[in-house]
Symmetry: C2
Subunit: 207 residues, 2 copies
C-alpha cells in the first residue's frame, strides 16, 4: 500500500486489538482471522484489516493473522516492547485503585513510584509500592521514569502537572476532572471517568 498518514483513530484501536490478541494467545490459539478478532473486540472486520494495512502486510490470506507475530507487531508500533515506568501522584482512593489495577502490566507499564502530599501516608506501602514525599519528584529523571499519572483532587492538578513537567516526564495521564495545560513537547491525556457517563442519557431516550 502506498504511504498514507496513520489515522489517530487507528492508533487508538491498536491497544484493543492487542488485548484481544493476548486473550486468544492465552486460550492457546496460534492464529486468528479478522472476523474472529472483530467478534471479540466489537470492531468490524474490514476496519481491522484496514487498520493493519497501514503498517504493511502481516496476515496470511485464507488463514488469518499469526497471533504471536500480531502481538509483537502491535507492541513495536506502539513502542510497548520496552517497559515504561510511570510515577503515580496521589495515593487516595483512585490512586490506590490504579496501583492495584492489573491492566497496566498487560501493556508493559510499571508504576514504579508513588507520591502523596499527605505526610502521614509517606513511607507506607500500597500494592507493594512505597509512597514517597512530593519533594522526591525531582528524582524521576535519574530513575528513568518518563510518565506521570495524576490522581489528585482537581485543585491540585495543574500544580502537580507543572512539577511532573519540571521532573522531565514526557507524557501524562490525568485522572482529575480538569483541563490541565502543559508545554507542547509533553503529551497529556485527560480521562474524566464521569464525563463518559454524562453522554449516556443522551443515547438512552427512555431513560
Amino acid at each position: 500500500m502506498k504511504y498514507r498518514r496513520v489515522p489517530d483513530e487507528t492508533i487508538r484501536r491498536l491497544p484493543v486489538y492487542l488485548r484481544g490478541a493476548i486473550y486468544f494467545s492465552r486460550q492457546g490459539m496460534k492464529s486468528v482471522s479478522s472476523e474472529k478478532l472483530a467478534g471479540l473486540v466489537g470492531v468490524n472486520s474490514w476496519q481491522i484489516r484496514k487498520d493493519f494495512s497501514y503498517f504493511g502486510e502481516f496476515g496470511t490470506p485464507g488463514v488469518g493473522y499469526d497471533i504471536g507475530t500480531l502481538i509483537k507487531h502491535i507492541q513495536r508500533i506502539l513502542r510497548l516492547n520496552v517497559v515504561h515506568k510511570a510515577a503515580l501522584v496521589g495515593a487516595g482512593n483512585l490512586g490506590s485503585a490504579l496501583l492495584a489495577y492489573p491492566g497496566f502490566r498487560m501493556y508493559g507499564f510499571e508504576i514504579a513510584a508513588a507520591f502523596d502530599m499527605d505526610k502521614r501516608k509517606v513511607g507506607k506501602k500500597r500494592a507493594g509500592v512505597v509512597i514517597e514525599d512530593m519533594a522526591k519528584l525531582r528524582t524521576l529523571k535519574a530513575r528513568y521514569i518518563r510518565l506521570g499519572i495524576i490522581a489528585v483532587p482537581e485543585e491540585a492538578a495543574q500544580d502537580v502537572a507543572d512539577q511532573l513537567v519540571l521532573a522531565g516526564v514526557k507524557g501524562i495521564l490525568n485522572f482529575s476532572p480538569r483541563y490541565v495545560s502543559v508545554p507542547s513537547k509533553v503529551k497529556i491525556i485527560t480521562i474524566d471517568i464521569a464525563m463518559d457517563l454524562a453522554c449516556l442519557p443522551y443515547y438512552t431516550p427512555a431513560g
Copy 2:
C-alpha cells in the same frame, strides 16, 4: 441553521463545556465568550461555536454566552436535568474509588446502590452506600435505577452485564478491561484506563 444530524463528537464535547461553564459559574462570572471557554477547556473557539450552533442560537453577539443559560441548555440536551441513579457492581479498589469520586454529582448522577459477590462485604458501607448481595440486582427496576457501572474482574464482566440487562438497565459503564456484548437496545461504554496510556509512547518518540 438548517437541520443537520448532531455529530457524535459534538455530544462527546458537551460534558467538557458543561464542566467549564460550571467552573466559571462558581467563579461568579455571568457570561463567557467562546474564546474564554476555549482557553479553559482546550478546544478551539470556532469548534465550540459550531457545536453550540447545532442546538439553535443561544449566544449574544458582542457579549458571549450567558453562563446560567448555557448550563441549563447543555444539561437539557444531555438529559442531565434529572437525577440519574446508577448501580455499582464490584466494591473492590476501583469500585470504592468510584463511590468516593465527586465527579458524578456534577453531572447529576447518584450511585444509589452497590453490589458485590463477596458475601463478607455485603452489609458493609462504602462512602455511605450499603453493599448488597448480587441477588438483589433484580430490585433495580422497582428502585428506578436505570444505569449500571461494572467494576469487577474481567472474567466476571460479561456475566454481570447480562444480569444488569436482565434487571432492566438502559445504559452500562464498563470499567473492566474486556469487550462485553449486550442487546442493541442497551447502550454500553467501555473504559479501559490502561488503554489510553498504551497510546502515549507512540506520541512521545524520545520516550
